[in-house]
């Protein structure tokens, strides 16, 4: 346990001592802020029109602002997360520090879990920036907090999945850029896999679409926690980390 925290702490420290942590948080804050502004501005405009038309039923802030906002955040995540995960192992391989880690009395899975948790914490810090915007909603409105909570849970699970894939890809190269680009491509592909189901209803298409990370996110943003989605994300995280450990092991044998 201590070893995992040691690695995790080291990763976090290196995100924050290099400027990448602040850069990612600022970028996310900017993009999320823009989405937030657009969604609320639209909401206010539409709400005003409805009132003018004399409709009594107030528009739901959850449906019109929060759900699309969380959906956008999950897409932004796909772009930003490869930037978090790309250096995890690639950098250690390039500088040779992997030799220090792998010859220290610490197990491979402790290294992997520590690194993944460090990256997760970094991702949480980035997500936390969006709390400012969401907080504004609570200050001036009465949104339902449950879909927000499940939405964030969905974001965390989805982020964990992408990070696990990214961690694995990062072990395959010593070039951060390659690791980042490959992770991004894989994630983009996993995102658009769901399109298959829109033009093909064969069983294989359903299976392919099922692998899309985004389809599993949608229920979360609507306030629904479906076990099958949670299981999907958790098994994807496990698979990613398992592949990472296999990759490290094979690195020892092939070296």
């Amino acid at each position: 346990m201590r070893n995992i925290f040691t690695i995790c702490g080291k990763e976090l420290k290196s995100y924050f001592t290099s400027s990448i942590a602040y850069l990612l948080m600022a970028l996310f804050g900017l993009i999320f802020g823009f989405f937030f502004y657009s969604a609320t501005a639209y909401f206010v405009q539409a709400g005003l029109q409805q009132q003018l038309q004399g409709q009594q039923q107030p528009m739901s802030i959850n449906d019109y602002v929060i759900a699309p906002l969380l959906g956008n955040a999950s897409v932004v995540g796909l772009f930003l997360i490869p930037l978090i995960s790309m250096r995890l192992f690639a950098e250690e391989k390039r500088t040779g520090t992997i030799e220090l880690l792998m010859t220290s009395p610490i197990r491979d899975w402790e290294i992997i879990l520590g690194k993944w948790l460090g990256a997760m914490t970094m991702y949480l810090c980035i997500l936390a920036v969006s709390a400012v915007d969401v907080g504004l909603l609570f200050a001036w409105g009465q949104p339902d907090w449950r879909p927000i909570l499940t939405g964030y849970l969905g974001l965390i699970l989805q982020g964990g999945t992408v990070l696990a894939i990214g961690t694995f890809i990062s072990t395959l190269t010593k070039n951060q850029i390659i690791a980042g680009a490959a992770t991004f491509s894989v994630c983009l592909l996993l995102w658009v896999l769901s399109w298959v189901s829109s033009y093909n209803d064969a069983p294989w298409a359903a299976a392919v679409a099922y692998c899309s990370i985004l389809t599993h996110f949608e229920p979360f943003s609507k306030g629904i926690i479906d076990t099958k989605d949670v299981v999907f994300y958790l098994s994807a995280i496990f698979l990613g980390l398992f592949l990472t450990s296999q990759s490290l092991e094979s690195m020892r044998w092939r070296a």
């Binding site: 201590r2 070893n3 040691t6 080291k10 420290k13 290196s14 001592t17 290099s18 391989k93 500088t95 040779g96 520090t97 992997i98 030799e99 220090l100 880690l101 792998m102 010859t103 220290s104 009395p105 610490i106 197990r107 395959l172 190269t173 010593k174 690195m251 020892r252 044998w253 092939r254 070296a255």
Partner: protein
């Protein structure tokens, strides 16, 4: 302390280390000598559990590198060829991190960090970012991280490579100062380094051990017979050769290149090998002078460690040892891909 039996490490296309065996006793400093790509780094990586052996057995402090890998790692301090440093960290932060990795109790960490900083003379740069340190200091931080958990065995891969002569001397002194508490294996291709700091030498070539002996024995080997380079001007080469061969104690004379001297006279050089326990130099000088020739050079080329080394590794190359050539090429590639090959 370290025991290697029939160790073989095969990569995808070539064999880096072929069936080597050696033993290192407690407190010894062993110099691992060989050309680039001879298999030094591979052997060290197996001992430090970075790479598993293809076949054979290696134990460190009684633990098997495959079966009890974590125990082995606890007992080893390792300085890879490139010190494994995080350039963005401060020296003290880095050492604290390594101390945690090596499993030192949290309460002891500040004390240990202070101790190794003192020991490796890096107290002054404790709060400097590693990326800003000079190469010599980085190497010291590298040694500091290797000894932080006070391991009984230290494995240092080319600890002085890339340092300037002054830094090399300092690094050597530092290593020598560590010798009391640790069993040390250090690899190098600098022979004087082995002579200065090691008690035992293992010369490895093309993945095989050529010599495994104490430094003293190697020195004896070189003292046993003397080789002298004689350069004479003012005479025809065959005549000089004949004359030299008659000198007492001379085993054989080998003609070296002849050339024309500054004033047009012929200068010829010979390598004279003496018999065992004979000092032939005074006699050679006297013989040349008595014959009325000019003695322009007389110097012992006698087998220095350097020559023993070159001779041993050269003769190995000539022998038709399997994929020797291929081996060199591939290991060269390994070097280039260092620190970590994929």
């Amino acid at each position: 302390m370290i025991k290697v039996e029939g160790l073989t490490k095969r990569y995808a296309r070539h064999v880096a280390v072929k069936n080597i065996s050696f033993e290192v006793d407690k407190g010894e400093i062993v110099g691992f000598l060989g050309k680039n790509g001879a298999g030094k780094t591979t052997t060290m990586r197996v001992l430090t559990c970075f790479l598993p052996p293809t076949s054979g057995k290696a134990t460190v402090a009684g633990f098997d590198v495959l079966e009890q890998s974590l125990d082995v790692r606890k007992h080893i301090g390792y300085l890879p060829e490139t010190p494994p440093l995080y350039p963005e960290m401060e020296v003290s932060t880095y050492l604290t991190f390594v101390a945690k990795l090596k499993g030192i109790a949290s309460a002891d960490i500040p004390r240990r960090v202070a101790e190794v900083c003192e020991r490796t003379a890096i107290v002054g740069v404790k709060n400097t970012i590693i990326g800003k340190l000079s190469k010599g200091y980085r190497q010291r931080v590298g040694i500091a991280q290797a000894i932080i958990h006070n391991p009984p065995v230290l494995i240092l891969d080319e600890p002085t490579s890339g340092l300037d002569p002054e830094q090399q001397r300092e690094a050597r002194q530092l290593i020598a100062s560590l010798s009391g508490d640790h069993t040390i294996i250090l690899s190098t291709h600098i022979l004087s380094e082995v002579e200065q700091s090691c008690s035992k030498v293992i010369i490895i070539n093309n993945g095989e051990i050529v010599v495994s002996d104490s430094v003293a024995n190697l020195h004896n080997r070189r003292r046993a017979s003397e080789s002298v380079l004689v350069e004479v001007s003012g005479a025809a080469a065959p005549a000089v050769k004949q004359c030299l061969e008659k000198v007492a104690g001379v085993a054989r004379v080998v003609s070296r290149d002849s050339r024309d001297g500054a004033e047009g006279e012929q200068v010829s050089a010979f390598e004279v090998h003496g018999l065992q326990n004979y000092s032939v130099r005074p006699e050679l000088a006297r013989a040349v002078v008595q014959a009325g020739w000019n003695l322009t050079e007389l110097r012992a080329v006698g087998e220095s460690l350097e020559e023993i080394f070159l001779e041993l590794t050269r003769s190995e190359e000539k022998a038709p040892v399997g994929d020797g050539k291929e081996n060199d090429g591939k290991d060269g590639k390994d070097k280039e891909e260092n620190p970590v090959t994929q």
